[in-house]
């Protein structure tokens, strides 16, 4: 291929023709992609600012420590905040061991075969099931109990914290399992092989090498799932969680309400003052979720540095 004769003595380094177009497009793409990023951030910023502007004036200690009320000014998050902490705590206790157990089994113990691939596929599918479906399941199984020909397969729990937590635990299990599986997969095989070669049992290898290595990843996935559960409303409304509760929860066998339900309730009220309360509730929920995320990030960074 003959090069076009240079027009001057100096050879121009500037690309021409098709190449120039490609390069121009490449430079332009940077701005297009930036626009895409900004669109997301912009919407988030608008929402956040709007919520802050409406909610911050309402947000004070009285708001955190008051029970719900018909008067927007007196209404607060006390019972719902406690309810959220109880439900989240119980959900964590119920879901995390099962999720990690499942992930360890699938990655470390289960023979690679049709069975495991079917299980994997199902878990991936379950992660996409809408939360309201888990609510229906929770209502029929956990709240009302299952009885088959006089034999109680599952006791009716009523609309209790335990029933709510079981529902949410089921809801977040698939996400947590997937995250844990991924994290365990990230642990280099050489660590496992080394451990096994030195005579450690499989369980010892998992306990002392695989799990510690995978923990940051597991933690991240877990916290994300928990955050989702913290904001869940549909499933809890479905199982019949209450909106007005004026006592402090003391055990998992009590009826409950959560911050998310309270926010939902307030947004359906006609009075503008309740909207402000809803915004303040959103801020509280956001701080809780961001706080949880922060803890996860701190732990992860701590582990990574090693």
């Amino acid at each position: 291929m003959a090069l076009a004769p240079p027009q001057s003595d100096q050879i121009s380094l500037r690309a021409q023709g098709r190449v120039a177009r490609r390069q121009a497009f490449s430079r332009l793409s940077r701005y297009i992609l930036l626009l895409a990023t900004l669109a997301g951030i912009g919407v988030l910023a608008v929402l956040a600012v709007d919520t802050m502007v409406r909610g911050l004036p309402v947000l004070d200690w009285q708001f955190i420590t008051s029970y719900p009320s018909r008067n927007a000014v007196d209404a607060g998050l006390r019972s719902s905040l406690l309810g959220t902490v109880w439900v989240m705590g119980t959900t964590i206790i119920l879901a995390i061991p099962v999720a990690i157990g499942t992930a360890v089994f699938l990655e470390e113990f289960a023979p690679k075969g049709r069975f495991t691939s079917v299980v994997r596929l199902n878990i991936a599918n379950l992660a996409g099931v809408p939360s309201i479906i888990y609510g229906i399941l929770g209502l029929t199984v956990f709240v009302r109990g299952v009885e088959l020909q006089g034999v109680t397969l599952f006791p009716a729990l009523g609309t209790t914290i335990l029933a709510g937590s079981l529902t949410l635990a089921l809801m977040i299990l698939p996400m947590t399992v997937i995250a844990s599986v991924e994290a365990i997969r990230q642990v280099p095989p050489s660590i496992r092989d080394g451990s096994l070669a030195l005579g450690a049992t499989r369980l010892q290898t998992v306990r002392h090498h695989t799990l510690p290595g995978a923990l940051p990843g597991i933690m991240t996935g877990t916290i994300l799932a928990i955050s989702r559960a913290a904001g869940e409303t549909a499933a809890l409304i479905m199982i019949g969680a209450f909106a007005f509760i004026a006592f402090d929860n003391k055990s998992v066998n009590e009826d409950f309400t959560t911050v998310a339900i309270q926010i939902y309730n307030w947004t359906t009220r006609p009075q503008e003052a309740f909207r402000a309360n809803a915004s303040a509730g959103i801020i509280v929920l956001m701080v809780m979720v961001i706080g949880l995320n922060l803890v996860a990030v701190l732990i992860r960074e701590r582990f990574r540095r090693k």
């Binding site: 009285q62 609309t159 007005f244 509760i245 009826d255 009075q271």
Partner: protein
């Protein structure tokens, strides 16, 4: 070795953090008990009257009262529960809002004690209750307030000041009027935009009932479904506000709150144009768009659970004040007396 130990320590720390958050919340819950007591007193809104009611001492009651049902009645029940638990400190009154139908379903399964309803119980629900062991004769129906619907138009709409029931029916029936001129030849020949609450809401049901739009089965036309429907009254307000050809409807309580920026249509139910207001709903002239609100319970529950009896007794004593406070029309004295008589038999002498 050192490494793994450090990691374990961090995991422990994480666990400790989670539990300390829980503890902290529990602790700050405990701290403010005294604050709360203080906050009660200045409330001019405190509805509590005497703690004793015909031999029933509210302060000695214990147990719980579970209320569920209509989201229309929820604000009243919430207000009652709020005031009641301040007086009857041993009682836990809980209120949920899963809809009139959802409330009756749970009520008939005996999962709740009191069912809020924005319409009377229907035959299907009565049958379900009877099948579950609550015979029809045992159902106790108490009217607690009156709700009214408001038909609204945009402030720019200058013609539809008053509409007859027939015009409203024609407007909202399936395949009904599409232009204003279809309703009244002197009105503009412009397309009407319709806004109405979601099909699951009690308001929608009530509107259908009141304007005889129940559908084919009852040999009536059905409600139109080609307009904008939303469960959120705000969406309706926003839609109607800026469009002079829009018409819609929602609860009177909502109109008196947020809806005021819209124009309420006067309704002619045969006796001239009547504007919706507390007074016209109460004296019965604002027909057919005002409706009664109920709570339901069962005789067996009233006999067994003193807390529920106390709650409902308190409910009737305070509903006039509280229902007005949350935006409904309160019952006239005579009607309230009828409700209280229904409960009187269960109260200790």
């Amino acid at each position: 070795m050192l490494r793994t130990m450090k990691k374990t320590r961090w995991a422990l720390l994480f666990g400790a953090l989670v539990s300390s958050v829980a503890l902290g919340a529990a602790a700050c819950g405990g701290d403010d008990d005294d604050d709360d007591d203080g906050g009660e007193t200045p409330g001019a809104t405190t509805a509590a009257t005497a703690t004793k009611a015909g031999g029933l001492d509210y302060t000695k009651l214990s147990g719980d009262v579970k209320v569920d049902g209509s989201s229309t009645v929820f604000p009243i029940s919430e207000a009652v529960a709020e005031e009641f638990t301040k007086v009857a400190k041993g009682v836990q009154a809980k209120v949920a809002l899963s809809g009139t139908g959802g409330g009756f379903e749970k009520f008939c399964r005996k999962e709740i004690d009191v069912s809020d309803a924005s319409r009377p119980i229907n035959q299907k629900e009565k049958d379900a209750c009877a099948a579950a062991g609550i015979p029809n004769a045992d159902l106790v129906e108490l009217q607690v307030a009156i709700d009214a619907l408001t038909v609204v138009i945009s402030p720019q709409n200058t013609w539809a000041k008053c509409m007859t029931t027939a015009q409203l029916t024609k407007a909202f029936q399936a395949g009904g009027a599409t232009k204003w001129s279809d309703l009244d030849p002197s009105w503009p020949a412009e397309n009407i935009k319709f806004y109405y609450p979601g099909a699951d809401s009690g308001t929608f049901d009530y509107f259908k009932e009141a304007l005889k739009l129940r559908g084919e089965a009852s040999k009536e036309p059905s409600h139109r479904s080609d307009g904008t429907s939303s469960e959120d009254d705000n969406v309706l307000v926003r839609g109607i506000e800026g469009d002079k050809n829009a018409i819609g409807y929602f609860g009177l309580a909502y109109y008196l709150g947020e809806g005021k920026k819209l124009k309420a249509v006067e309704v002619d139910g045969g006796k001239g144009c009547v504007a919706p207001s507390f007074d016209t709903a109460l004296n019965g002239t604002y027909t057919p768009l005002s409706r009664p609100l109920f709570v339901y319970t069962a005789a067996a529950i009233l006999k067994e659970k003193q807390a529920v009896l106390g709650f409902l007794d308190f409910y009737l004593k305070n509903t006039q004040k509280l229902s007005k406070e949350v935006g409904y029309v309160s019952l006239p004295d005579a009607l309230l007396k009828t409700q209280q008589d229904k409960l009187a038999a269960y109260l200790p002498k």
